[in-house]
Symmetry: C2
Subunit: 192 residues, 2 copies
DNA sequence: TAAAAAAGAATGAACATTCATTTTTAGTAT
DNA sequence: ATACTAAAAATGAATGTTCATTCTTTTTTA
């Protein structure tokens, strides 16, 4: 009797193809047949790995989000002082968005449309907890403004998404100087 | 011979229905038949007003974007001092996003997905010129940081979109205090 | 060699768009 | 005012295509 061991490479290729096609054509113009073709797989094979199209896109979302937050918090631990901790996280996030453009674009699209179902969205949110904790600590120490975490996020982290999208569209080139400026703006807007 | 004068109300109903359905279901789950039904019109009638589905969504985008910028610059004129001018524009934009939630959500979705074609996107960008001019003037006067307008936009205007989306998803309630905080954060991040 | 994995072709539903008719509109004649 | 008419506007019912998903068969694996 053979073991149940589906090829992980095939699954990865499917995930990759989904990200690429949804980025370039949008969810509405990404048929399963195209995903299969780009992953060098039969359309039927997709259904060995995922229940259906919605399940596919949900799972891709959650996995990319998990990779994103893992990357963001890689060098962070909660005994680091608030200001330094924030800098570490912010710069890792910037790094991710500049290096893993495909993944980051995919997240931006999912976060601004109803293509992901509510449960998966919630699931994705959980991973941000360390940042919320950091801000809580910062507020207690009087280093961070006493604002809702949504405001803090809106003004310090989220602008990176906008910059990445503009960069990706070729509207402007984001260089290292820009990034330092951006970091200063981010910090200025949340520090007390 | 009758005059060519198609009912403007019908067209408006179609635009409104498109915005509503795309917001709630996404472009991929918004068939022409549903748009027609919501607008109390036959599917065939849509084609009297628009060439096809792509043309419909492009035109809706451009019109909403035009309404948005008209609203934003309503009380502004370029002889107003930079700091005050920025405040006026920022607060009008915040107003728009809080009052015209449907329109603002639609723009957010279009600006983060490939559902709009490139030409329409460019068209939409043009309308922001007065704000770019204001920043240019502010930089010359040494009031605004010498940053790329994309950075300025990312840190002062764009966060409002994030806040609106969160508010719309019921994640938190954006009140007048929040808004004043948000305005201060916006200004802090771009003023010299 | 038997079960798992994969494949290609088939199925049926959903959809954008068009077609053939009907209804409305507004100018004109009575 | 009223009736007439021709074009415009609108419609509901096709049409043909695209697509997600399933079915049957083949290939791979252990």
């Amino acid at each position: 009797m053979a073991k149940l061991q589906k090829s992980i490479e095939k699954r990865n290729a499917l995930v990759k193809a989904t990200i690429n096609l949804v980025n370039n054509n949008g969810f509405h113009a990404t048929p399963m047949s195209k995903i299969a073709k780009m992953a060098n797989v039969s359309p039927a094979t997709i259904y060995l790995y995922f229940d259906n199209k919605q399940d596919l896109v949900n799972k891709v979302y959650i996995e990319v989000k998990a990779a994103y937050t893992a990357y963001a918090f890689k060098n962070y631990s909660n005994d680091i002082p608030v200001a330094k901790g924030f800098e570490i996280i912010w710069k890792r996030i910037a790094d991710f968005k500049l290096k893993e453009v495909e993944e980051a674009m995919f997240l931006a699209q999912c976060d601004n449309t109803p293509i992901i179902d509510e449960a998966s969205r919630q699931e994705g949110l959980k991973h941000l907890q360390p940042l919320l904790d950091l801000w809580e600590k910062g507020k207690k120490e009087g280093i961070i403004k006493p604002l809702s975490p949504y405001l803090l996020y809106a003004y310090s982290i989220n602008p990176l998404s906008f910059l990445m999208v503009m960069q990706q569209r070729g509207v402007f080139q984001l260089n290292q100087d820009h990034l330092e400026d951006a970091y200063q703006a981010a910090w200025n807007s949340i520090k007390k």
